[in-house]
Each structure stands twice: as structure tokens, then as C-alpha cells.
Amino acid sequence: MKELNKLDRRSFLKTSALAGGGLMLSFSWIAESKAAKTMQNVAADWNELTGYIKITSDNIIKILCPNPEFGQNVMTSLPMMVAEELGVDWDKVVVEMGPHDNVKLGPQFTGGSNSIRMYWKPLREAGATARQMLRQAAAETWSVPIDEITTKSGVIKHSSGKSATYGEMANKAATLTMPKGLQLKAPKDFDIVSTSQKNVEGKKIVTGKPLFGIDYQVDGMLIAMIQHPPAFGMKLQSFDAAQALKMPGIKDVFSFKLYDTDFVQGGFDTRSFNEMIAVVGNSTWEVMNARKRIKAKWEPTGDMIEVMSGRGGNTEVTVPGRLESTENQMAMMAEKAKAPAKEQRKDGDPETAFKNAATVIERTYNAPFLAHNTMEPMNFFAHVQEDKALVVGPVQAPGWMEPTLGKILNLPADKIEIQMTRMGGGFGRRAYGQYVFEAARISQKMKAPIKLIYSREDDMTYGIYRPMYTATYRAALDANKNLIGFHVKGGGIPESPIHANRFPAGAVDNYLAESWEIPSNVTIGAFRAPRSNFNAAAEQSFLDEVAEAMGKDPIEMRLELLKRAKENPVGKNNDYDADRYAGVLELVREKSGWGKAENQKYNRGVAAYFCHNSYAAHVVDMIDRDGSPYVERVTSAMDCGIVINPDAAANMVEGAVVDGIGNAFYGSMTFKEGQADHNNFNSYRLIRHNEAPKQINVHFVKSEADPTGLGEPPFPPVFGAVANALYKTTGKRFYNQPFDSSDQPTNI
């Protein structure tokens, strides 16, 4: 309680300092609801009941969403969990994006499909705690035992007939000690959770309200853009800004360094370049035009040493200075794949199994770098002053940015305010704070509020890409076509994709997983289901080929392996629940009418995968449309435990399916001499309306297991299912992504 009061004061001071600092808060974070209108007329006498709930004496009930929103709908689904236990009607609740405050609002990290999972308990507890405090306040006010007090739809009642709104008791409740160890509702008693509720910001989105970081504005704000080196492996030598400075509306052009030489990088401090040129002016168009007038000279960086912090202390990493081209990268990978690799897991005696095999199937799969291409390009607002800093914008993990901002600005954490806007997509890209730090550096130099904007070209050419991967899979079959050995050896630039303990580990007696990697100066990072997005593609199309060689139905073959993994698992640490894995396969088999005559007009591909704590299976129905393969229909089965908001969950899965089809067919970033080959949507192809399926039928396994996320899990197996349907459509196996490339090896 004491701790809480201290925090209250801190957050109050933060807010009032901001309001007094002449910064116009051009956003109203209050989501649309019936109560929202009333809000404008009330004095803010918020009574805080836990960090997540605020109630005025006029009975306006506000729930703070702790995690930033990038389309996964957490701003609706997380507050629903609070409201469930608080015992209020959903349409009477006001939802607001919370401030950045990791002490009061938890980890506040959007990524890893973790929002729902990590907040499931704390948010329901917050709701239950507040409800209990309100009941306690009523019990004390009415001098009756608390057990006699019930609540319904935000009204507190006593058997004598006395009643009060939550608002009427909120002031007193806020002074009480927070109870602990409260009983939470059983799933069968849920009123809000597991009902479909509309996006709380839907109305603002369709009316074009300023929700996104790129929309943020304050009086006196300048616009900044960056000129970065043209290629990975190049750095700034010198530049002449004379002409750019003469352009109308331009305030300054200067070079700046992101990190000082002794900077120790954390995992999310990834930066593509350290020294860049900033152009700052009054408006975006003026800055864009002036930037073209900069005459810059670039030179090779040579090998660079970076100091990375890690669990075992700091390590020095050498980043090679070579200018990489996709062709050489492919050649380097092919070479490295032949060399001995690091053993990640070994069960039984794979060497002997392969030696004794009647048939060995060996296939190699390749996938390119991918750019995130969020629709809203990277951008951030920063106002850095002598003794404090305010930064506002789209960011997945403010708690990871704060320490780095502190280091580069030399400010303590409590002098740094990070506000989270709605994000126009993330897909992992906004977990890396490069653009936040750049904005801060530029504002610091300008001594003014600035908004840094990446053009689409900037966004695509100095990305933090999905790595390039390759993996060779081998299967050993005995004379009876039983799978007796399985071997995967995978690597990438600059990391390996291998998850050694995932299926089919645990289901095959003799198993070997090995990995290797090749360092690179091309910056990489998390991309929707990191590593899994490649593994599922490769492994699930390999299993399809193995099933064919075994003469088995691909679903049946997987189910048999899963049965083995359940009844008599091989090895330890198998990283999946065989029952739940089989569950999504069975559900997708049933719902897709697998093997049914009426579906014969489709070329069908199936795949399933488990990652980020949820299970997914898809059946992709492909046709030949005017000579090109086209995915017309998809059936999806998901197991993410309890589904919080079913319609929104279905939307997520539909989106992941479309994204998966798009990236499987078209996604690719290639390089020439360190320079990205694609810089906009005219050459980097994204899936469009006419290429999306006509139907995506999403089904959820009925479950009372604690809920898990959906942002990532449905995405990876789409690639495999598409590859398998392509085989049925064209008679050819597709090993190299993107699948629309004609560069497909002919096996056998």
C-alpha cells in the first residue's frame, strides 16, 4: 500500500509536469464508449483501485490497458479480463492506454504472443481486488458483514435493500488495504470473457482520428528525417549540406552518432548504422526535398567490434565489414551447411539408423530476408530537455527503451516519459528502439520537440530483417517404410533457426538436430514468430514428402507420430503437448472435410505447428486460376486455451493466414553489395485484395486451459500448408521461398 501511494504521487507528478510544460496533448486516449462523452465534463477525481482501475465518484469506470496495441486487439481483450472480475457491464467501461509504468502495470511488452498469457492472472486479480475493496467499503459504510454484500453490473447491494454504485464507494475503497488471495471466477461463470466484443478504438479508426505515432503533433514541433548509409558495411565519410540548408523550411542538417564508442548493446539496441545525417525542418515535404540535396560520401566500415551485454557478462562480437550480396550469401550458406555443425540434440543412434535405412529422403529448404513493412513506417516524437525527456510513439516494449534512452541522454529513468501510441503494425519490428533513440538524439541536438519520420524507402532499406535461413532435413525409412531416423541441420545469416526440442523430436527413436550460423552486418531481429516462421515451412513440407514416401495420409502420419510422442516419448524436454497438437489436426481434419469427395476440386495442403504456446493447423485449398496457383479457401484450427474475444481472435487468425500466404509467395529482401534491392511496394510485393482467399474458416478447440496468444502461432504453418498445396497443384515441390520465384531445385 505504501509503495502504491508513492507511485501514485510519482505518476501524478509526471502527468502534471507534462501538462505544465506547454506540450499540447493532442491525443485523447479515451476509447469510445457510452461513458466517454460524460467524461469530458467531469473533474478528474479518479480513485485508483489497483494500478489498472480508476473510478470517479460520478461512477465513471476506467480501465487502463497496460500493453501497447498494434492490431492484436489487446486494448480490448486485456481490459475485458479486468472487467470480468470487477463485475461491471462492458459497455459502461472507458478504456484508456496506460502510461509507461512497469511497477504498476507489469511488463508492458507486446510481443512473443505473450500479452494475454502474461496478463491473464494479474488483470483478473486486479478486477477481483477492486471489487473486494468496493464491497469492503460498503460493508464499513453500512456497518454490515462483507459476506452479505453482493455486486452486479457495477452496483453494490446488501440484503437489507441498501445499494450504491461503484462510484459512490470508490473514494472510501481507495483508502483500504488491498486484499490478497481472492478466489477468481471459474470459466463457466464468465460474463465478458469468451464473448465477442468490438475493438474499443474502432470508431476512431474509421473516422480517421489521430491515433498513431505518425499523427502525433505538438506546437512548435519540427519534422526530422535521416539519411543513412546506402549499404550495410558502409559508413559516413563526409558530407556537404550547403544546398540542403538553403532549401525552404529547413532548420538544420547535421550528422550524429547513435551510440558512444563505449556503449554496451542490449539485445534490443540493434542499430543498422551508427552515424547518420539528420535533416530537420518545418514540414515533411520540405525535409524530404532538402534531403535529396545533401552531397554525402560514404566509405567501407571494415570489420567492427560491438560489445554486447548478456547473461554471462559483456562479450565482444566482430561484425564483418564485407559488402554482402544475396548470391554470395547463398554460396556462403551452402558451403557452411557442408561443414560440421553444433549438435543441439541427439536421441538414439541416428548414424546407424541412416546407415541401415532402406530409403533416405534428403531435402534442403531456403528462405530469404524479409522486411517487416508495417503500414505505418517507423517514426517517433521526442522532446529532450536539459533535465527530462518526453518520447511518444509506436513502440512494442517501452521498458526496453527506457534504459537505453537513459544511457544515451544521461538521464535517470524517472526523468524519461515514454507514451505509447497505437501502432500501425509491428510484427516484431517495433521491439527494437533504433528509431526512438535516433529521435531522441535529434531532439537533443535541436533543443526542440521533433518528430522523426522514416520514408517507406528508409523503412525498407535499413530494416531489422527476418534472417535468411536454410535447413537440410533427412528422414530414414526402414524396409517397412517406418520412420526410424530424423535429422535436421539448419543455419542462417546471422542466426540458426533450429528449435531442437520441437516436434518431431520425441516421436522418432533416432534423432539429431544441428545448427550453425554466419555473422553478417545486415541487421536482423524478430519477425512474426521468429525462426518458427521458417521451421514450420521447411519441416511441414518435408513431413508431407515423408508421409508420401511412407504411403500415408499426411494428417494420419502426423497423428501416429504424436501418438508415439505421447505414449512412449523419446528423450526429454519435448517442447509440446502431443494431445493438444493432435487436437488441432483432428479439428482441422473434421472442419475442412479432409478426404471428402465434395472437396475434390481443391488441391489441398495441410500443416500444423506449435509455437509461442498455442497450437495451429491449416488446410489450404488451392486452385489453378488462369494458370496461376491461387489459395481460394483456408480452414484453420487453433488451440489457444480459453478464447478471450472470439471474433477478434478469428480476425487475428485470418490476418495471419493472409500474411502467411503473402510472404510465402512473394516476401523477399535481397541485397547487392550491401544495398537493399527493394525500397518500396513497387518492387517489394505484398499480398493484395485479389490474391487473398475468398474464405477463411477459423475454428477453436474448446478448452478451459489458461489462454495463450494468437499473434504469432497461426502464421508459421501457413507456409508449409501452401507449399504442400502447391505440390498438389503443380506436381512440383517448392523448396525455396518465395514460392513465386522460378528458382526451385528439382529433387530426386
Binding site: 475493438n199 470508431k203 515533411t284 517507406r456 490476418g655 487473398a692
Partner: protein, 151 residues
């Protein structure tokens, strides 16, 4: 710099900008109307779609000097409170994920329905394929357009 009187959403606005400035940036930077979004700047994504005399137009390709007396409508001009049938349909189908592309999608859809009040799948695909949705909400967009057509 030159002065322009531009008709936007039924009112005339005065801006003093470089003649080459695309309407996208005039709206966003000079008129504080950020509903129209920047996605690519080269007519490839549709995020910046507005109406010019009722026709869908990529505002990133429309220099302020070319507007003249033509009438511009932006997402802010459809309705204040999501009362337009297309906006309503979007809410009914809860289309948005991140939401960033949706004002462009809605403006393209409104223009489509003006010309073709009863579009079939192919009409919708033809009219909407210039609008990218990175989150992949295409199916719901299609459904919402059909719902709006009915109303």
C-alpha cells in the same frame, strides 16, 4: 511558396506552401487532418486515398497546385461520428486490426459504391487492389463493402 484556397470537406481552407507539395502532406502537416495516411508516397499502397470530385485519388500523387477548384473529401469528411454507411459496415464487421490502412480502404470503398452500388467480388477486388492491408483484413473489408451495399 504560394497561397491556395482549397475546398475540403465542404469548407475552403487556405494554405501557403510549395506548389509541388502533395495534398497528403498539406492535409497532414498544414491542415492538421492526419486521417489520411502516408504509406509509400508512390501510389502503391492506397493509404493516402481521398476523393477528388468524388473519385478515389492517391493524395501522395496530387500536388496542391493541381487541385484548383476541385472538391476534396477526406476520411474526416465522411462523418464525424462514423454515421456513414461504409463506416458503419466497417464497425459491424470489426474490420480493423492495426487500423492504419483503413481510412484509405474506406475512401476507396466509398468511391467504388458510388459508381457501382452493387459490386460483386471481382468488382471489389478490381477497385480495392490498390489498397494494401499489411495486417491482412481483406476478407472483412470485402464483407463490409457488401454489407454497406445492402444499406
Amino acid at each position: 511558396m504560394s497561397k491556395y484556397n482549397i475546398k475540403i470537406n465542404g469548407t475552403t481552407k487556405v494554405v501557403d506552401v510549395d506548389p509541388t507539395t502533395p495534398m497528403l502532406w498539406v492535409l497532414r502537416d498544414h491542415l492538421n487532418m492526419p486521417g489520411t495516411k502516408y504509406g509509400c508516397g508512390i501510389a502503391m499502397c492506397g493509404a493516402c486515398t481521398v476523393h477528388l470530385n468524388g473519385m478515389a485519388m492517391r493524395s501522395c500523387q496530387l500536388p496542391v497546385s493541381a487541385v484548383g477548384s476541385q472538391e476534396i473529401t477526406t476520411i474526416e469528411g465522411l462523418s464525424e461520428d462514423a454515421a456513414h454507411p461504409v463506416q458503419k459496415a466497417w464497425l459491424e464487421h470489426d474490420v480493423a486490426q492495426c487500423g492504419y490502412c483503413q481510412s484509405g480502404q474506406i475512401m476507396s470503398a466509398v468511391a467504388l459504391l458510388k459508381n457501382n452500388p452493387n459490386p460483386n467480388d471481382e468488382d471489389i477486388e478490381a477497385a480495392m487492389s490498390g489498397n494494401i492491408c499489411r495486417c491482412g483484413t481483406y476478407l472483412r473489408i470485402k464483407e463490409a463493402i457488401k454489407t454497406a451495399a445492402k444499406n
